[in-house]
Structure formats: C-alpha cells, structure tokens
Symmetry: D2
Subunit: 344 residues, 4 copies
C-alpha cells in the first residue's frame, strides 16, 4: 500500500500517518520529494483500512499495490483448478456443457429434456426448481417437487444436476438432490448464502452479478473458498449496460481476464448474456474461442410455452447442432468436447 | 398488451396468436393495416408471458401498455402512504432524518452517537450489526451484540432503530431489537429475505440495487407489499455507472419519478450515493429540493478510525450544520424538519 | 508518478526503469521493500507516458499522483472564474438562467419566446439553428436563417444568444450572430471544433459527453483554455446509464465535484438530464441546491408541435413558475436570481 | 406506429389525436377496449414525431413498430454488402485484417511496420496521422507529414491505407493519401464529418461511439449511406461500462446483432475493446467465432516506446502468431484468411 501525502501536508501530518502505520505492525519507507512525500507500507501487519488512512490529515490518496482476493488468485494457486463433473474435469481441455430448461415445469418435461441434452452431448443437466423472478406474480418454480424431478432425471440419464439455491435455509434440503449449487446473479453478494454453500462443500457455479466487477466476482468466490470449499466455477452471464437491444452485454473480456487472474474454471452463459436464442450460437462459439472452460445453456422443447426465459432457449435440435459446431471449433483453441462417461 | 405481427406473417400465424390469446381468457382487437396486422389484447385473463407470445410464428414484437407493479403504484393507492416514525409521519411534509454510524463498533460509540444525532435533530438512529462486506477479510459487524447495543441506544434516546438484515433466518431475532428493517442494495432481489420481512409486518427501508432500474425497485417493493406489509420506504442510494470519481452516481431523477409512480415514501442516501463526506451536504440539499421525504446519513465521531465507510461519514458537528441548512431550505419546497417528539 | 515493480522484477528491470525515468529529466526515489520495490518519479521533466513505463519488464503498475488537467484546475486558479452575461457574472451568487426552444423554427416563434423567457427572468436566450439529430431524416435546423432570427430576437429583447455550433468551418459565421458558443454533448471530444471555439475567444458552454467522465470534461475544457480562452462554462446534462425510464441520468454528484476541482462555472441542463418536462422542475431545484451556477432550460410555447425535444420542454407559464420557485429556494444556498439588466 | 391512449382519455382527446394523424397523411385503425383505446397509424405520410404525439392530451405512450434506419437495414438490402479491399471482398468469407501502429511516428517506423504486417497476412495498413487525444498535452500526430508516410508505405507494400479523419475541412486532403476513412468513436455522431465522408464516396470504417447503442451506430451509418456512399464498414470497438479492469467492454453481442440487422460488413477492434495486449488474441478469436468480417489491430515494433496505445499493441511476431491462429479457427465458422493479392 502506498500513501501519497498532499503537497501541503505538514511534518506532523506525516509523523502521524507513519505512527498509525507502525501501530498496525508495518514498516514504512519514506520517499520525500520536492513536491510531496510518499509513504510505502511494508511487511505484514493487521489489515489496514485504506479509507481510514485516506481520512488522516494531509493524506491525498491511498493506493493498493495488490489485489484483495487471495485464495482465488493465480499467485496462491498457479495451476488450474480442475473440478470433476460426470467423467470430465472442468478446467481441463475437456469442455463442460451444462444444458437444460430454465425452470423444471413438470416431471415429463425435465426427464425428456435430460435425455435430449445427454444425447446431444451435454455434461450436466440444468433446471431451476426455485426461480428468482422480478415479479411476485410470475411463476416461482415447483420447489422441492422440482428438485425431486431433477433427481429422477439424473437417475434416468446419469447427468449430474446443476440447480439454483436462493435461501441459505434450504441448502441442507438441496444437498439431497443437487450435484452442483448454482448461485444466481442476483445473489452473488448474498453473503449468508455464500457461507452456507461454502460450508456444504458441494461444487458451486457462481454467477457474476449483473453489475459486479470482475474483482467483486473473485471476492464473492473468496467467501466460498475461505470455507475450504475449493470447487468453485466462475460464470460470466452478461452485465448490465446502456444497450437495450440485447438482454445483457456479454463481457467476453472477462473470460481471458479471469483465466489469467484466477485458477478457477470459467463457464459462460450465452443464454442470459444475449437473451435471444438466435444469437446464442454465435456467442457460444465466441466464448469457447476466448478460452471459456464450458457453457451453460437454456434448452427447451417448446420455448413458446416455457414458463420462463423462452425467448432465449434453444430447441433441442438447435442445441445439438450447436454442440457439433463447438466440436469442430474447439481444437483450434486446444479444447475438445468429450462424449461424457455416463454414471450409468 | 399489443402484439405486432411482422410484415410477412401468414393468415395462419395470425389465427394462432388470436387463439392463444383467447385461450388465456382475453378478447382481441384486430388492426389490419396494409403492411402489418396489430393485435390488441383486451380484458382480464390469466397472466400472459410476453416472451412466450413473442416466440410464436409471425410475431415481431409484444409491447406492454401498463407497468408490472400494482400495489406499489399510484393508480392502486392515489394518496401518499404515511409511515409513522418517532412522532412524525414519513411521507408527510415532515422530513425524516435517519442518522448514525455505518457499523455499530461498541456500546459506547453507538450510545454516544445516538445522543449526538438526536440533539442535532435526527428522527431515527441507523447502525449496522451485520455488515455486508465485499471482502470476507473485512470487519463483518458485531452481530447480535451490536443489535443489543442499538436497543440500548434506543432506550437511552428514544430514537427508533433502523438496521440492516441480510439473512432471512435472522428476521425473528431482529424483531426483538429493530424498529425498521433495512434491506441493503446487494439484497434488493434476495426474494427469501423480501418474503421474510414482508411477513414480519415491520416497516422496511428498501434500498435500490446498485444496478436496478426504478421499475425493478418497485417490483422488489411489490414482494413485500404482497404480504400485506404496506410500510415500505424506497431508498435511492446511487447507481453504478462508468464514472469513477464518485463511489456511485446518485440518480436524483429517481426521486420525482418514484414520487409520481408510487405512493410510497422516498428516502435518499447521500452518503453512499456520492461516497465522499465533502459532497454529502450538497447532495442532501439537492435530494430534499427534488422532493425526497427524508435522508439516511452516515455520521461517525471519528471517521478516520471507523470500521467501515469512514470516507463518507460526517462528523457530528457537520451533521448538525447540515440539519440546520435543511431546516432553512425545506420551506422553499413545502417541507419542514420537525423537532422529533421523543418517546422518553 | 509512482512505479510499482512486480514481486519478481529483477535488479536489471529496476535499473532500466530508473534509467528511463532519468532520461526524461526526473529524479527517482527508491523504496525497496521485502516484497517489492517502488519507484517515485520526482521533479519536472518531459511528459512521461504511463502506458509506456507500464510495459517495461518487471513493472506491475504505474500510478499517477495528480490529475491531468492544469488550467482548468482550482490549484491553477483558486478563485472562481466569473463570466459576464447580460449584466450578471456567471459563477457569482447571481444565478444564470438560459432558456428558449430546442430549435429555432421560424422568426415569430423565436422572437415571441425570447420575450416570454425575458419576462420570466431569463438571463440569456437559447435556440438551435443547426441541430445534431440521431436520424438524417429528422429536422436539421434552419441553418444561417435561424442564426439571423436569433440575432433579431437579441435585438428585440437584449438577451444574449447561446447556440450550438457543430462544424469548425462555421465558427466564423457564428461569430456574427452568437454571444455564447454551445458545444453539444456529442461534440465534447470533437477536437477540431474545440480548437476553433478556443481560437474564437467567445464564451463557450461546454456540455459533458453522454458517457464522458468528469475528468474528460475538464480535459475537453483544457483544449479550449489552452488557446487562452478562459470563458468556459461547464454543463452537466445527464449521462447514459442502464436506467431507461428517464432520457439520461442527471449526475448531480458532478456539480459539487466540478465546483471543487475547477474554478469554472457549472451550468445544469435539467431538460436533457431527465427528458420529461414533468420532472424538470424538481431537477432544476435540486441542481441549484447542489451548487450549480445556473440552468439551461428548454421552453416552447407549443411543445406538442415542437420540431424537437417537445417531450422535455416547459411551456412559458411553467417556466415562469419555476423561476419563481428558484427565486425562493436560492437564498437557502447563498444564491439569488437577479432581474437582468437588459442591454436595451 | 401505435398510440396508446390512457385509461382516462376523453372522446375529444381521441378525436384530436386521430385528426392530427390524418393531417399528416395517414389512416388510423381504432382498437377500443374496455380500459383504453389504442390507435394504429397506417400507411405512408409525412414523418411523425413520436414525442409530439406523446404530448397530446390523453396519450399515454407512442410506440414505434419498426426501426428508424432504412438504407442500412437488411430489409432494404437483403444480401451482404461486399466492399473490395486489396483483392478480397470485405463481407465475404474472406476475413479482412487491418493492422498497424496506433500513430504514425516517423517514416521508417510506418514503412517497416507495413512490411511486417503484410508478411504476416494483413489486408490493409492502419495508422493515425491526426490523433484524437483526451489531453491537449499528448502527442497529436504528425499531420499531413504522417499521411505522406502512409502513402509511401502503401507504395512500398501495396497495402491500402486506413486512417482516421477528424475534421471535415481535411477530407479533401485525406483523399490524396487514404484508401479508407476511419471515423473514430468520439466522432460517430459528428454529423458535419459524416456528411463530408459520405460526399467523398471513399470507403468508410465507422467506429461505434463508446456509449452509442447499436441502433445509433446504424443511424450514423445512415448519414453516410444517404449520400449514396454504400461502402461503410461498421466497427465494434468496445463500449464504456462500470468495469474498470479492461479499457472498454467488448460488446460481442453486437456482432451477430449487426450482421442480422444490417447488410454492412462488421469489423472488430479487439485492441481498443480490451485495452491490454495480453488479452487481444482471445478477443480476436472470439470476434471471428461470433461472425465478424474482419479485425483491426494495433501492432507496434516497440510498444514500450509507442507514442500512444502501447499498452494494447501487439508486437509483430505476436501479430503473426495470431493471424496463424485465426487461419486455423476460421474454417470452423465458414471463413478464411486469404493471402492478399498485392497491388504490386
């Protein structure tokens, strides 16, 4: 950390800042220029609050020299973290393809869809039993009944289940049905929930909040990781911008940035990122080309009658065609789509 | 709702859309132009999903003609909702001034601060016992101990307590200590939490999410209101934009817009909206001039040593000076700062 | 400037950075910590490109310690710059009120409107003769004919004319008709135009670009100021955000920030900032309460038939009522609305 | 266009709206529901201003049913527009690769760089002679001298020259040196400039403004197209968002959206879109996978000493490696990188 004193800071101001820094267990290194003094904070002491220092008399600015995430960083863990999922390792050259409907609507639907996405090459099944909806008047999901149908679909197809949990009180119940906890964009900074899924030791798919920075995403991951749960997949699902033609703006820059900054796998969610099914293929291919470790895609047999997100859902045949295109493109960036080794 | 058919929609496309609309219990009104057909949806049937209709063959666009919030709207409740708080009614010409530290740090601090803000003219005391922090390594609040100190501060000063709840499991515990539940910006769409505070029937201060639209804020309020809990105060606290000089961008436009669209009181949070104490006074005066029903402000005796948000906290004497300025400005917009009738 | 070396920078990396800095005419101050070395750049040499330094081997980050604008800054010119306009000084306690239609539509309209806004208390007349329109098929303004009508309106009322120039080739022609050059938001970084109006030595009303930072606005001002033209008024007119309910998001934070960072007067444009006439009054009052030195407002006798921006134009009687409200509110923030001393 | 009347509109309100619409040369189609009346505007009359109609008594909302761009739209021109450039056709399966330094710094630099990028497979040479810089104190380019060096580089290598013009007065001079006019992001809505390049009949590379919507980009193209100049290439170069880790946020969604909405070729600018050279490769591959017709890339032999944009410039060997990767990836999306047929 570096403390930049203002040009008119007094000698006493400087002494007091130095005393404060030393009281926290650090050394200081003074750089006294003609115009201003700059104080480097050296060593390892108790956490210092930049804001506090910034308020001391004579201080112009306090600048960090390192990032605030630790366990999530490449420095902490230089090798890629690999997370087993249905016979592949997410983070390896094998691409993960998680697919299924936005919401579980009934038993038949989810089981049929599980078969359809498995045949097309999916690695895991997605489907929501508890749905976060902007309106209290929209379909809120089937609840535990939906979780039971998901578990049945896994029994039938061998596909592990990725499903969203929104309430920390329900984490124990989800443990009976789910294979991967999805944390939705609205809940990326729901710390009670992050603690609960951290404690669960289940794999987590953590979606970036719609207006969260890349650094905040890594800090949210840090909440889970700090419980010793290292199986966190980061998910870029589009951010909110002024552009209204698409539902969100897919921040494709985040993919190489996250891969460089962190060892955690990065999954892209083109369905939410663009919000209209006709563009999902282009964005999916782009995400893989940019270095994503996998995709999560909304697939629905009858989007016109979907309870939610029909606008962005692929029909199964389009999904199958997309998987074929990914299969062709993947080798150009050193990746491949494995035919999953099914659990049964 | 209006369904705009594309210029090349077939007669069959049109028939099928009409059939679908009728199957939901609505009438249709056809407008057949030279270029395209437009279908009006008339009457009151089951909820129609715009996205579903939009996916039908031949449909170009589906446009709503009304807003999605109901109980929160002025149409539903034309008169201002007034929420009693320490002898005033929030939403009336009496301005509410909620003040106190970001976090409860210890017993002495919160009690001294309660006295200080009461003397300066505050209506209620704010203070966080459970703190949502971006980093798991930052101070997370004193927990229930903090709530107890807040209750003691209320005993001593008569100021009602406004404090943030983040975990639906803790709502019952908060009911023992708090007077108003604050829902933080990160939790505006934490639906499990909105349900829990809706059920509690306690007054709620609902902060706008940092990238939530005005409509989404009203929809979040709708979640609480739909539990029959009508005592919701909306809080504009700044949105996230590209501008980095200030912590957030205070959306002052939201104040007159919310006052027109809804009957609920609107509180401004200049401390978070601008993020630097030296600008808080200007933004506070602006919020009142724009029509806000009150302010929530961070006040700390020693911002340099504050556990959080010191950068944006006013010292008690500056807070008192600000209340005086508000007192002078308020009559120009038909408002006043009451000397609160204290409970003891 | 501070150069932060990465933890694994070699001794040679450090030597080369130091040599580069010295070759530009600066001294360096070394701070060698256990983890990393930090190099302070001291003195006054040739301009250093932060990006270049940042690319040198072993460099982690290069951080500025001062802002890039000079003539626009308070440090350069501690006192408020006062710009004479129709008998008042913009930047003094006297508030400037610039009002008139978005576009000059015909001779009668602009002359009638000039009379109307003068009677209500306006300081200057606004009106566009050349209009920047998103669509090439929209009304583009009357051109030089419009400028002639504006000059006639000035003759009749004594109100100075504020009008937008978009093409550097037309600056000389505008000098024959206008009193203040308006640079529109779309042209804030049109450097050919900034040079031309800088050279003209006419007063300039410089609007912030719709996605420009506060710093970029000050840098755009710097282009004009660096031609020795010190009569620049900064104009906050709303920025582009994700919120779509209003046309733009008025960045009210920018008002106190600009007043602190710069000596130049700050004018608010509530009409564009909110985009709907029914909210213009609230935003105008807020801007004054926040410290703006004046307002620029769209006023039209018949908004329903306005060639542009009717949605956000006040009728003359509403404008007059607003000026009265400002007159009442202004003293609470140490300002006043002068009855202009008319030129004739 | 559809006019939605409010629920409490009077019969007279409705009559007046109908009369106004008819006076513009349109028919109307009435849809009278129980709650409200909706008026469809039918046929082809004089342009109607939505805002004007929206201000009439009793009108709640006016909604367009079609987009405002015409010549730029796929409806107007269903086939892809192909623009010849150095032996390929931009918009065909042959990918265009435009490469070179941000700024022309001297004669040797640009000629050497032209040879380097040609050898690596570039289709055209980029390089700025007039530079738009945020600060008036930054290097502003060599001016006409720079244009002469660019023309020399073309002589030597056969690569056509793409260079930015900022001032409409300089368009005739540029015609002597340039092959393609680049309109920079800051000037996307500089209408005087758009008119001038439209008139020139030279090919134009039109960059999206940093906070312009996709629709506004198409409307800016419309300004050029409406002069009969059909050789416009649209360029996505990143938009401004809250994310600060990267220079801009590359809006990859815009690529498939533009390709569907318009017949014009789409070029991606990964250098500006991400702003750090280490991510340029990932973003380049992603852009091609998403359907871009080409790339414009900053390449510099010595980025550490570049006069501008060194942070995002590839060294020639990295550029050559990237072209190889594109060559391998392109066939998976039906594209190819031609070895350009050189003019000499």
């Amino acid at each position: 950390m570096i403390v930049v004193m203002s040009t008119n800071a007094s000698t006493q101001d400087i002494s007091e800042v130095i005393a404060r820094i030393r009281s926290m267990g650090y050394d200081v290194h003074l750089s006294e220029g003609k115009e201003r003094t700059i104080i480097g904070v050296i060593g390892r002491g108790r956490p210092i609050d930049r804001e506090q220092l910034g308020l001391m008399s004579g201080v112009q600015n306090v600048m960090p020299v390192s990032h605030p995430y630790k366990i999530a960083s490449r420095e902490f863990h230089p090798d890629d973290t690999l997370i087993p999922l249905n016979g592949i390792k997410v983070g390896s050259p094998d691409l993960a393809i998680i697919a299924g409907p936005c919401a579980v609507e009934n038993r038949t639907q989810i089981i049929e869809m599980a078969h359809a996405v498995r045949e097309a090459g999916a690695t895991a099944l997605r489907g929501g039993a508890f749905k976060p909806r902007t309106s209290p008047y929209s379909f809120q999901g089937l609840g535990e009944e939906g979780l039971r149908y998901l578990a049945e679909a896994r029994e039938e197809t061998g596909l592990p289940v990725v499903t969203e949990v929104m309430d920390p009180q329900l984490v124990p119940m989800f443990c009976d049905y789910a294979d991967v906890f999805q944390i939705g964009a609205r809940n990326m900074q729901n710390y009670a929930l992050l603690h609960a899924v951290g404690e669960s030791q289940f794999p987590v798919l953590l979606k970036r909040g719609m207006s969260s920075t890349i650094e905040e995403l890594l800090m949210a991951a840090e909440y889970i990781l700090s419980h010793g749960n290292m199986r966190v997949m980061l998910c870029e699902r589009g951010i909110r911008t002024f552009e209204t033609f698409t539902r969100n703006t897919f921040d494709i820059n985040a993919i190489p940035v996250l891969k460089q900054a962190s060892h955690l796998p990065v999954i892209a969610d083109p369905s939410h990122a663009v919000g209209k099914w006709e563009y999902v293929e282009s964005i999916s291919l782009a995400a893989i080309a940019a270095g994503a470790d996998g995709l999560i895609l909304e697939v629905h047999a009858d989007p016109e009658h979907a309870e939610s997100d029909g606008r962005q859902s692929l029909k199964p045949e389009r999904f199958a065609a997309l998987v074929e295109k990914i299969r062709r493109l993947a080798p150009a960036v050193g990746r491949q789509v494995e035919t999953p080794v099914l659990a049964r």
